[in-house]
């Protein structure tokens, strides 16, 4: 149950010394599927990816084939690979970029052909210069080999690829903000509707935005066929999934796994359990945006998209942040809320003002200056950003960043209210001595 899968991580594990080179990529079967894609064309490829059940790995788990089928007919169409990976806890795309960049390039060729794209972009966060360098070298190698540029693989299909560096703004990971940024504007999200990328995207033309991991799966789906790909996974969650595990576990890291194992298996068997023999206190199942889980309620839940949603959270980008019993939950929540306050683009008042308020109140509680009413205040301010504190959030803002900031508030008031109150009644953190 807890054996790792070796699909998108196979080459880097079996050939660590040169998994990033064209020579190794081709020696292990690389670029055969890109050639096949050229013979298949749009309809067949869209159908195939639909059949595979591939879900986007950027956080929203949107079906990739369905997204492709929405592409409006106007041309030129564009493909943008989202390598902005900045959600605290997430570091999987970095490994894919550094260790197997040709896998991504081949996936891009397949996605480009499927969507009749002749110019594709990769938007890499500015803090990832090494991954960007590795990717640029792979792109250069592919150009030299005639796999990118004019008439790829000797066909009459042209494909340009531009690697673009961001400059430090988490919000540019949101697909419409990313498009604004790529157009040379401030990275502010656009309203959907009308600005669905598949209809009005880059330069107002039809655009497909997909995550690095999503695109890296494409060569494998073509190679093994949709049925075999589905069989790797677990029911609706097809294929493999990269979990980034961090925090107080003995073996943090990226793990390629099928869905369906339990949180207990992931945290204790795969990631080696809690450091120093400490107790597990809580964990974030899917990145900083996700509501937290606790051992009493969730440890034996299966890790699937549906079971996680039913329990009031999400798998998001696959980032699992584990906290042991020395953790002050107020401080942890403050750190996450601070992130969203810092990264708010400021367009929507509830997000801009609300996140700053939440951060301030949490600071006050953490410092020991909190008041009894602060707990209600947290919920009230939270409710202004995310109406009814519902899950999934009812959107009142242009993008989901604002409501994301409320997740830790929901979590600590639901599961750790006594600890929050102890800060208020006892002038500060009751765990101070235990913390490290």
């Amino acid at each position: 149950m807890t054996d790792q899968l070796r699909v998108i991580t196979r080459r880097m594990v079996e050939h660590p010394a040169d998994s990033h080179t064209l020579a190794r990529y081709e020696a292990t079967g690389g670029y055969r599927q890109a050639r096949r894609a050229l013979d298949m064309g749009r309809d067949e490829l869209v159908e195939l990816v639909k059949e595979s059940g591939l879900l986007g790995r950027g956080g929203a788990a949107f079906p990739a084939g369905l997204k492709w089928s929405f592409l409006a007919p106007a041309r030129p169409a564009y493909l943008v690979v989202n390598a902005d990976e900045s959600e605290p806890g997430t570091f999987k795309d970095r490994q894919l970029l550094e260790r197997d960049p040709h896998q991504l390039v081949e996936g891009m060729i397949i996605a480009a052909v499927a969507n009749e794209v002749h110019h594709a972009f990769v938007y890499v966060r500015g803090e990832y210069p090494k991954p960007a360098r590795r990717l640029q070298r792979a792109v250069d190698e592919a150009y030299t080999a005639g796999y990118l540029g004019e008439g790829i693989f000797g066909s009459d299909y042209d494909l340009e690829v531009t690697v673009h560096l961001g400059a430090g703004a988490y919000i540019c990971g949101e697909e419409t903000a990313l498009i604004n940024s790529l157009e040379g504007r401030r990275g502010e999200p656009r309203l959907k509707p009308p600005y669905f990328p598949a209809a009005k995207g880059l330069y107002m033309m039809p655009t497909i935005v997909n995550n690095v991991e999503t695109v890296s799966n494409l060569p494998h789906i073509l190679e093994m066929g949709p049925e075999a790909y589905k069989a790797l996974g677990h029911e609706a969650d097809t294929g493999s999934f990269l979990f980034s595990v961090s925090g107080h576990v003995n073996r943090p890291g990226n793990y390629e796994l099928p869905h369906g194992l339990t949180w207990r298996e992931l945290i204790y068997d795969v990631a080696g359990g809690i450091r120093d023999g400490n107790e597990l206190k809580t964990w974030i199942p899917g990145g900083a945006s996700a509501p937290w889980f606790v051992p009493s309620d969730h440890l034996d839940l299966p890790i699937t998209k549906d079971a996680t949603a039913k329990a009031g959270s999400m798998l998001g980008s696959g980032a699992v942040v584990v906290m042991d019993d020395t953790t002050c939950v107020v401080r942890a929540a403050e750190r996450i809320v601070r992130f969203f306050a810092h990264e708010s683009c400021g367009q929507c008042t509830p997000c801009r003002e609300g996140t700053t308020w939440l951060e301030m109140i949490l600071r006050r509680i953490e410092s020991g200056a909190g008041r009894e009413v602060d707990v209600d205040l947290l919920l009230e301010v939270g409710g202004n950003i995310s109406v009814g504190l519902a899950w999934p959030p009812r959107m009142t803002t242009i993008c989901p960043l604002g409501p994301s900031a409320v997740s830790p508030i929901i979590s600590i008031t639901k599961y750790f209210k006594d600890e929050v109150l102890a800060h208020i009644h006892g002038n500060g953190c009751p765990l101070r001595g235990a913390q490290r």
Binding site: Q95, G184, R335
Partner: protein, 210 residues
């Protein structure tokens, strides 16, 4: 494309700018890469640099400034030769990032957000840099070091001051000052950063080609 006499940039930088512009269907899209060129040319992003970018992409200087101010990596104030960015987001915080930051501030002699008097070290705290499996992590001129401790972070600052490397390399610093990594890096990189901007060959911000 641009009257030569008007440009403050070196011929090499102008050639790079031309090649960058050719990579985009619309020239406005070259704003972000050209802002890096401008920063590299002057050491940080100056008003003159932004004017130059504006001319290349056909925007007003005010428009370019509005774009630049949105992004944290375009430093519009003088930055030390080495920009030390300490992650204090959740996964790093859980494993002692606040103590690492305090050690860096103490050793550098300046609080986060400031540059020392000699113009050598700038300290800042940043949000997640995608190294959470190797927490706590920091970057020097955006080159990553994972699994630092307060002690090794202090050593790193002293090393930057005493060795004063022309370029900083992620693999070299990881070897000297890092421990646990997010994943096996496998093959060392020989390309490094020459200033407080990301080292990426097309932007001319590296110390050479591999």
């Amino acid at each position: 494309m641009l009257p030569r006499t008007m440009s403050r940039w070196s011929p090499e930088t102008r050639e790079r700018a031309r090649r960058i512009l050719a990579r985009y269907p619309e020239k406005r899209s070259a704003v972000m890469p050209l802002l890096y060129l401008a920063a590299a040319e002057d050491g940080h992003l100056t008003p003159e640099g932004m004017e130059e970018v504006a001319r290349w992409v056909g925007l007003t200087p005010a428009q370019v400034q509005s774009v630049a101010s949105f992004y944290t990596m375009y430093k519009r104030e003088r930055t030390g030769r080495y920009l030390v960015s300490c992650c204090t987001s959740i996964s790093c915080m859980l494993l002692g990032a606040d103590e690492v930051l305090a050690a860096v501030e103490d050793e550098a002699g300046v609080p986060a957000g400031e540059t020392d008097d000699e113009g050598v070290i700038t300290v800042e705290h940043v949000e997640c840099i995608g190294a959470c499996g190797g927490a706590p992590a920091l970057q020097v001129n955006y080159e990553l070091v994972e699994g630092v401790t307060p002690d090794t972070a202090r050593e790193l600052i002293r090393w930057l001051r005493s060795a004063s490397p022309e370029a900083v390399h992620t693999d070299e610093m990881q070897e000297l000052f890092g421990t646990r990594r997010s994943f096996d890096w496998a093959v060392p990189e020989r390309v490094g950063a020459v200033g407080p901007f990301p080292a990426f060959e097309p932007y001319g911000t590296t110390d050479g080609n591999p």
